[in-house]
Symmetry: C2
Subunit: 417 residues, 2 copies
Amino acid sequence: MISDLHEVFSLSAKGMKKSVIRELLKLTRRPEVISFAGGLPDPSTFAVDEVAEIAAEVLATNGAQALQYSPTEGDPKLKDELIAHHEREDGIKLSPENILVTVASQQGLDLLAKIFVDRGDPVIVGLPTYVGGLGAFNSYGADMIGVPLDEDGMRMDLVERELERLRKRGEKPKLIYVVPDFQNPAGITMSEERRLKLIELARHYDVLIAEDSPYKELRYEGEPVRSIFALDGSGQVIGLHTFSKILFPGMRLGWVIADESVIQKLVIAKQSTDLCTPAFTQAIVAEFASRGLLGMAIEKVKGIYREKREIMLKALDDYMPDLPGLHWTRPDGGLFLWVCLPEHIDADELFYEAIEQNVAFVIGSAFHCDGSGRNCMRLNFSFPTKENIVEGVKRLAKVIEAHEESRRTTGDIVATP
Amino acid sequence: MISDLHEVFSLSAKGMKKSVIRELLKLTRRPEVISFAGGLPDPSTFAVDEVAEIAAEVLATNGAQALQYSPTEGDPKLKDELIAHHEREDGIKLSPENILVTVASQQGLDLLAKIFVDRGDPVIVGLPTYVGGLGAFNSYGADMIGVPLDEDGMRMDLVERELERLRKRGEKPKLIYVVPDFQNPAGITMSEERRLKLIELARHYDVLIAEDSPYKELRYEGEPVRSIFALDGSGQVIGLHTFSKILFPGMRLGWVIADESVIQKLVIAKQSTDLCTPAFTQAIVAEFASRGLLGMAIEKVKGIYREKREIMLKALDDYMPDLPGLHWTRPDGGLFLWVCLPEHIDADELFYEAIEQNVAFVIGSAFHCDGSGRNCMRLNFSFPTKENIVEGVKRLAKVIEAHEESRRTTGDIVATP
C-alpha cells in the first residue's frame, strides 16, 4: 500500500462524505425497529411472476442479443415504449434521439453533473431536496445554492433573487434542480403557476432546468400538474425518470429526456462510464411495457400506497402530541411525508432517542445543502406494513412527548435560544 | 433551449471526443461487411438456458429481494463466489471488504478515475492500451503518459524513466494502468519478471497500480502468469474484473478488488453514481457461480476462442502478403491480435479501403494516447464466424496488397517520408 492514500485522492474523493442516511440506516437494521427511514418500494408491488415469464421468453427468443453488448443510447424497443409512455402520461412528443436509458435516475444525475459541473460552478437546489441529487452535484464540486420551498414548491421570488445576484457577478447556475412532484423529501408538489414562472426565469437568465420525476406517476389524489418538460417544450428542461418506484428498483433502469444536443453529450459521457445499460434488463422491461403491463403496474402501486399514506396521515392526526409548531405535509402522491417539529427540537438528537424506542426516520438536515432543517424529519410510508405504520407513529409520538417532557423537567426550555 | 449550450458544458464534457471506434463501427454495420472491429463475445458461448432457469428460480424463491434496492458494495452471496473464484484461479485470499461489485469493469475504471484523478494529474498507460481506460481517465482530465510495450509487455525501463522524470518535478502519477494478460488491443502478456519489476517500481515511487484483467481466465496455451495483484499482496494493486468476456456482457457485471481503504472510497463514489448495481442480475450470476457453472462456462469459451484464434493465425500466415515490416502478435489468450503494417502504411487510410472491400478492423491510433500507432490495426477473432475469419483475412490481405500496388504505381513511395 502507498504511504499516504488520502493524499493521492482527487479533490472529489476528498470532498466525498459518507452518506449520513446510510450510516443512520445501519442503526435501523434490528428487526424490532420500525423504519420510516428508507425509501424502498413495497415488494408486494413487484410484478414477480410476469417478470419471470418475460425473462424466460426474452432469453428463449433473443438470448444472443439480450446477453450481448448493446447501444449506449439504450434499447430501441424500450425507447419506443418510453415515447408512448410520455405521450400517454403527459402529452409529450419525443423521438428516440431525445432519450438516454440509464442505470436508474441516479446515473442520470451523475452524468448531468459530469457534463455540466466544474468545481465551484453554482447549481440551484431546493431546501430541502433529494439527497442523491446533492451527492451527485457535490461529487463534481458544485457550489450548491439552496432555495426554500413553501407549500407550492420552490419559491420563485427567491430563485429570481439568486439568479439576479449571480448575474451581477457575471455568473449563472449550471442547472436549477427541482423535484416538482411529491418531492423527496418534503412530499410537496410544485404548482403549475410556479412551474411556468420557473420556465420564464430559466429562459430569461438562460439557464437549464433539471426536472427529477421519480414519483410523478404515483398521484393518489388531486389533479396532475403537467411536467415542466411538457410546459416548456423548448429544450430548456432535462427530465430524469426511473422505473424504480413505478415497477421495481432491482433492475436499476431509468432514462433521461432532453434536447438531442444534450443527449448526445450524455451518451459520450456514458460511454466512458459504463459503455451501456444492461441489455437483459432493458429487454425485459421493454417487453413488459409492450404487453401493456406498465399502466396496470402503476395502478397497483398507487392503490397500495394511497392506502398506506391514508393510514400514516390518520395515525399522525390521532397520536401526535399537540405541540405548537409541530406539523406535517399531506402529499398527493409519492412515498414520503415531511414532519416539522417545534424549532427547538433537534431531529438529529431525536433520532437516537427514537432508535432506542425502535422507530426510525431520516433527519431533515441530510436534505439541506446548508445544514439547516434540523427540526425536520422525513417519513416513508411505502415500505412499512400498515400495522407497522400505526405502531411506528405511536412510538414516534411517544418519543417526541418524552423529549418535550424531559426538556420541561430539566429546564432546558430556558437555555434554548 | 439556452443560447450557447457548448459554453455551459464542463471542461470534462468539452474535452470528450466522440469515440473514434464507435464512429468507425457505424460504417461496419452493412451485413456484407466482415468485421474484426468490435470486441464482442461469440453469443454461442452464452449460457442462455441456464440463465433462464436460474432467473426463474431467483424470482420464485427471492423475488422481493432480487427486484429491490441492494447494498452499494454488492450482493454478499456474489462476493462469496468471487472470493472463491480468485482463490481458485490465482491463489488470492480476499475478504468481502476487498470487493466492490460494479456495472462491469468500465464502471470500475470510471470510479477509479473519479476518486484519484484531478485535472492535469499524470496517469501512466501503455502504448497501445485499452481505449475505454483512456476514455475514463480522459473524462476526468488526466494527463496520460504513454509507455510503449514490447513482446513482454510494458517496458519497465521506460516506466522508471517517466517515474524519475516526474519525481524530479515533485510529481508522481496517480495510477499506472496496465492490462497485463492478452492485452487489449495488442494481445501481449506481461512476463512475470516485468510484473515483479512493476511492483518494485510502484513501491519505490509510492504509486498505485491499476490492473485491468478482463481476459485473464481466457488462456488458450502456455502457462498462466500470476496476477500483479497476487504477486504484490501488499495493497499496492487495484484489480478490475468483469463477467463480460467469461460469461456475457449483457448483464454488465464486474468487480473491483483492492485494499479495504480504497474500496471504501469507491463505495462512496458509487453511491452518488448509481446507488447500487442491479440486485436481479447479481442474484442470477451468484446462483450461476454457486452451482459450479462458472468454471464450465469458462472452459466452453476457451474451447471456442482457441479454435478461432488458430484459424485467424493460420489465415494470416496463409494469405498475408510478404511485406517487410508486416507482422502480427500471436496471443496466448484473449480476444484480439495486433497487426503492424509497414511504417509507410496509414491504417486510418487503409480502413476506408478495407470497408470498400467489406472487411473492417479498428485503427491502431485509437489505442494510443499520443496519436501514434497509425500503422497498426486490432483484429478481433471472438465474434466473427470461423468461415468469416478466413474470408475476412483474405479480403484484408488483398486490401493491403492493392494499397501497396497503388502506391508503387503512383510513385507514392518517393513522397513518403
